[in-house]
């Protein structure tokens, strides 16, 4: 019974996130098509969430925004995972030696939180989807490499690795077959928690006006559009913020569930 609960607790957020990512396939209307005659239409069969100030279908825009925001986050995470794990494994010291130079370089590069790198990159290049993907990748990658290295070094001291070495297992085999499954959970947990931060950051930037592009739909833009008429039409504000909240909550929840219990 408890096992089913555990699986369910992981499956539900994953399913919700998948729905948000693939939702754009089911858009009832074009998310950018304006229809000034039907502005602020109430919810109906044609417009499930009604329409906004220039008559665009809010439901379609929500789905499109999900594709944009989650697409950036997931693409960035996928790149970070592949490169981070590869380089982390390559650089990991397995002999127990530590060098002050490489240590301090890595420490100083990771001294700045990922969000700050994001701000620097977005600050200089302006905001757009490619910039955001690059910024997200760069900002998380260094921490990822450091995390993988630390985890591998911690695992290397344990008894089961010594046994594996005694059995004649090569370095590659130990890293991929023995260590990877153990540390993968921690890595994915870190990625999940970062994704949650990144969703908040991406929508934050487009909310204050650093939009991803003139005709790109994302939840931050919808929020800042809706804010102008929030007194009369609060629903327009509620849909995007609920989506940001749900996605961020899902990632947080996944990260929380994957946390390794003591022992």
């Amino acid at each position: 019974m408890k096992k089913i609960g555990n699986i369910l607790a992981l499956a539900v957020p994953v399913i919700i996130l998948t729905l948000f990512v693939l939702g754009f396939l089911f858009e009832p209307n074009s998310p950018t098509k304006t229809n000034i005659l039907e502005k602020y239409a109430p919810a109906s069969a044609e417009y499930p969430f009604g329409t906004d100030a220039v008559g665009r279908c809010v439901f379609s825009r929500i789905l499109e925004g999900g594709k944009t925001t989650l697409g950036i986050v997931l693409l960035g995470s996928a790149i970070v995972l592949t490169i981070g794990i590869t380089f982390g494994m390559l650089f990991a010291r397995t002999k127990g030696r530590s060098s002050i130079i490489s240590d301090s370089i890595l420490n100083s590069v990771t001294a700045i939180p990922p969000i700050a790198y994001l701000i620097i990159l977005v600050g200089i290049w302006g905001n757009s989807i490619p910039t955001m993907v690059v910024a997200l990748t760069v900002s998380l990658l260094l921490r990822m490499i450091k995390l993988v290295m630390t985890l591998i070094e911690a695992e290397y001291g344990k008894a089961y690795i010594r046994c594996a070495v005694a059995c004649g297992a090569g370095k590659c085999r130990i890293l991929i077959i023995h260590i990877m499954p153990v540390i993968l959970k921690d890595i994915i947990q870190y990625i999940c928690l970062s994704c949650s931060d990144m969703i908040l950051a991406i929508s934050g930037f487009s909310f204050i006006g650093l939009t991803l592009g003139s005709d790109v739909v994302d939840w931050g833009v919808m929020l800042s559009d809706a804010r102008r008429t929030s007194a009369q039409y609060p629903a327009l504000l509620i849909y995007p913020i609920a989506c940001i909240f749900i996605c961020s909550l899902c990632f947080n929840f996944l990260g929380h569930r994957l946390q390794r219990r003591d022992g």
Partner: protein, 318 residues
């Protein structure tokens, strides 16, 4: 021990300098390969005749034609003397602009930090006390949810409700610390919600230790054990990450400030970006890197001193 301290200080200083060096180099390289040219943007703004020769002359006078290492070296020489040049937008000294903006951001963050510390202790204690009741579960679920709400949404809702609809506060004309209170409160919600359950979990762990068991054997009351032994230790263990969180709020402040129109670092960066103003951007990034790594070092330092303490009290390190 003495030698260990010296090595620690040396290592941290090197790390600090390296961080600043790497980040500023990064900002120069990125600026160089940026799609928008600063000279062209300046020409458009100042109604300089928009012909190639005029822009080329402008580039020359801005020093943008020099190779990147030379540009960086020139900037570095100025930076050491705290001379960051003048802004291309309003011709004012960048250093004074950046320090003024920083003082605004710092006020917001410090105020938030003080309120957070208070609320975390209160809420964490509450979470611990009610941990086996329904109210405790609801409380921790609420905390969990509050972490997922973006601070800028709190900010805009705050303004829309209190300033626009009810007219209770006036965002523009308030003076003193009161002006920064709303912005600070937006961080307080998220950060407190993040740390309170952590504190509760730490207290619970402390209360299950052998030391707490012996204290109970000595006949000490549960309350005394909690306040005298468990709470201080639990607080000490979250203090380093609390400082790192403060540094993080600093970057988060950039978005929230924008909503409250506080002329802090966020305003400066945003203005620098929209106007393509390299001197301001470089100086702001330098300051950001400096402050963030300082906070990081404080966290490390705390971690070090507090860990030393716990090793002494427990007799043996794990």
């Amino acid at each position: 021990m003495k030698r260990g301290t010296r090595v620690f200080i040396l290592k941290k200083t090197i790390e600090l300098l390296l961080t600043v060096f790497i980040v500023t180099i990064l900002s120069f390289i990125l600026m160089q390969i940026s799609p928008v040219d600063a000279a062209e943007a300046y020409a458009q703004r100042s109604q300089t005749p928009n012909n190639p020769e005029a822009i080329e002359a402008l580039r020359e006078s801005m020093g943008l034609n020099a190779p990147l290492p030379v540009q960086y070296w020139n900037w570095l020489q100025g930076a050491v003397k705290l001379d960051f040049g003048v802004s291309y937008v309003n011709q004012q000294d960048v250093f004074s602009q950046v320090t003024t903006a920083f003082s605004f951001t710092a006020k917001v963050i410090l105020l938030a930090g003080c309120i957070e510390a208070f609320i975390i202790i209160l809420l964490g204690g509450l979470c611990y006390i009610c941990r086996k009741r329904i109210s405790g579960y609801i409380l921790s679920a609420l905390c969990f949810a509050a972490v997922s709400i973006p601070p800028f949404f709190f900010a805009s809702t705050f303004i829309d409700v209190f300033a626009v609809k009810l007219g209770i506060i006036n965002v523009v004309s308030n003076s003193g610390l009161l002006k920064y209170l709303p912005a600070s409160l937006c961080f307080v919600i998220g950060t407190s919600a993040f740390f309170a359950p952590l504190l509760a979990a730490n207290i619970e762990k402390e209360m299950k230790l052998d030391s707490a068991y012996y204290a109970r054997c000595r006949g000490l009351s549960e309350r005394r054990i909690l306040f005298r032994y468990a709470l201080p230790t639990a607080l000490a263990s979250i203090l380093p990450s609390f400082f790192q969180m403060l540094a993080l709020s600093m970057t988060g402040a950039i978005i929230v400030e924008q909503v409250f129109s506080i002329p802090g670092l966020g305003y400066l960066i945003m203005n620098g970006v929209t106007n393509r103003d390299p001197p301001v951007i470089h100086a702001t990034i330098l300051l950001l890197a400096l402050v963030l790594s300082l906070f990081n070092i404080i966290a490390d330092l705390l971690n070090r001193t507090l860990n030393k303490g716990s090793i002494n009290t427990e007799g043996e390190g794990v």
